[in-house]
Symmetry: C2
Subunit: 311 residues, 2 copies
Amino acid sequence: MAKCLVVGANGFLGSHLVDELVRLGHEVTAFDRFSMGRVSFTAVGVTRRLGDFLNTGDLVDAVKGQEFVFHFVSTTTPASAENDPTMDIRTNLASTVELLQCCVQAGVTKVFFASTGGAVYGDQPGVELTETALPLPVSPYAIGKLAIEGYLRYFERKHGLQSVTFRISNPYGPRQHPNKKQGVIPIFLHRLAQELPLVVLGDGSMVRDYLYVGDAVRMIGQTVDAGNAYPVYNIGRGLGASLADVLGVIERVTGIIPEVQMQPAPSTYLNHIVLKTDRYQREFGYPDFVSLDEGVAATWNQMNGARDGLG
Amino acid sequence: MAKCLVVGANGFLGSHLVDELVRLGHEVTAFDRFSMGRVSFTAVGVTRRLGDFLNTGDLVDAVKGQEFVFHFVSTTTPASAENDPTMDIRTNLASTVELLQCCVQAGVTKVFFASTGGAVYGDQPGVELTETALPLPVSPYAIGKLAIEGYLRYFERKHGLQSVTFRISNPYGPRQHPNKKQGVIPIFLHRLAQELPLVVLGDGSMVRDYLYVGDAVRMIGQTVDAGNAYPVYNIGRGLGASLADVLGVIERVTGIIPEVQMQPAPSTYLNHIVLKTDRYQREFGYPDFVSLDEGVAATWNQMNGARDGLG
């Protein structure tokens, strides 16, 4: 059992991680602005700490006495970082360095970082996306994530602050905010619920490695007590699904035939991202993944008022 | 002949680049704060433009009407970036993005960027440091340079702004400022001239790929009209010299036996960096490199009042 601080604890990934860490028996403090006005995680016994990632004083207070810090906040999405790249630099990158400095000062043992699994590799047709593939990000969001990975390496070497980076593919599931322009599955389901057409970028052939959020946090949770042999792990299913596949699943699960509008894909969108997760699986075992149908159904049901999760 | 703007034109590399571009027949504008109070380059017919890289208005004005922009400024050194990593983020990284935005607005054709050739790869014993080796920087300076390489990729993909990155090894030579804590050769020579002991970090076995600055700018100058098949080139001699070797050369060249003090190397210093420059040589030919003895002699002579260069 460890004292864990989750930064970005009320966000999509962060809130599921809080639940998973509590389930594993850890003592969890949830750091967030809680700007939505409600608490997303459902676990009991979580210490809530109201604070702003951009406020160094808040960070100093939050990391005190913590063993493990989970950096699961981002001030930008891929879309907003592209809209204003210097915002990503001024906020995400600068404040991450300040968070790491706070962790060193407070004697935190280890930092767990949510990086991005697809965008960090960029477009490399025919290249297996293992952790040793060359990262060639073409979006400000991914450039920033990769720079943070670099700072983690620096802080480990300079200050002995241990860390592990999770390059997470395309997580989806309950609690994912459909208005954030990130996560095509909840966006599609939300529009479907509102009887709006679904906007497909490109011709529907764009492939992603969709990962149910419950599986993502289970994979991450497994590494907490076990330690890690490598600094970076791909976190994904290792299975690709095209947008056309996703539309098929949505139709099957909801029983609604969606109206689809095609739009050109932005130039920074990548065609095909499927992660190789052999490194993770060799070390931590093969996760029992939720199927895309099950995951989309759970997301749809929660959106329609059911309690989230697949339990 | 192209209209070339050199940003950081009065700096060490920048000033030699100005001279080389003029020699090649280009029309050169030199952008700099000129904070040293004197002009470093010697070529005639250069348009001087006083401005601050951190001032977006200055950048907007400077890039107007230019075809090629050479980004050869850094607000930090490896030492100062380590001293304050967020400064590197707030100044170098954010202002580079602003410079690139200005270039897009002004219709600049291509950006040439001075990255770092050693630090960007980090410590990888036994790995050949080609441009396809995994970059694993462990210093804030190199993390920032690598992030800039990412933004160049993004601006090319998003806005069609062409670019080329030079990962320059360890350039040395006349005009290198001995007080900047960057460039061990002029620092050693300067201390020798002042009859101060030379401080060797580590046991003297640290190996670097020292490149005479005249050779560096000749290599870069060759790419200007030729175009480039790849986005990134290592720029180095491809030959390693240890600190002990450098001390031997200095003793030979100056005739002075230096007094040496050993100090532990900082944890972010790398042991062995020699670049593979096959990619450059296949495309642009094999440069006729100056020997370390010749280069150190030219640096020493300029420090003692001779005109710089080997002519």
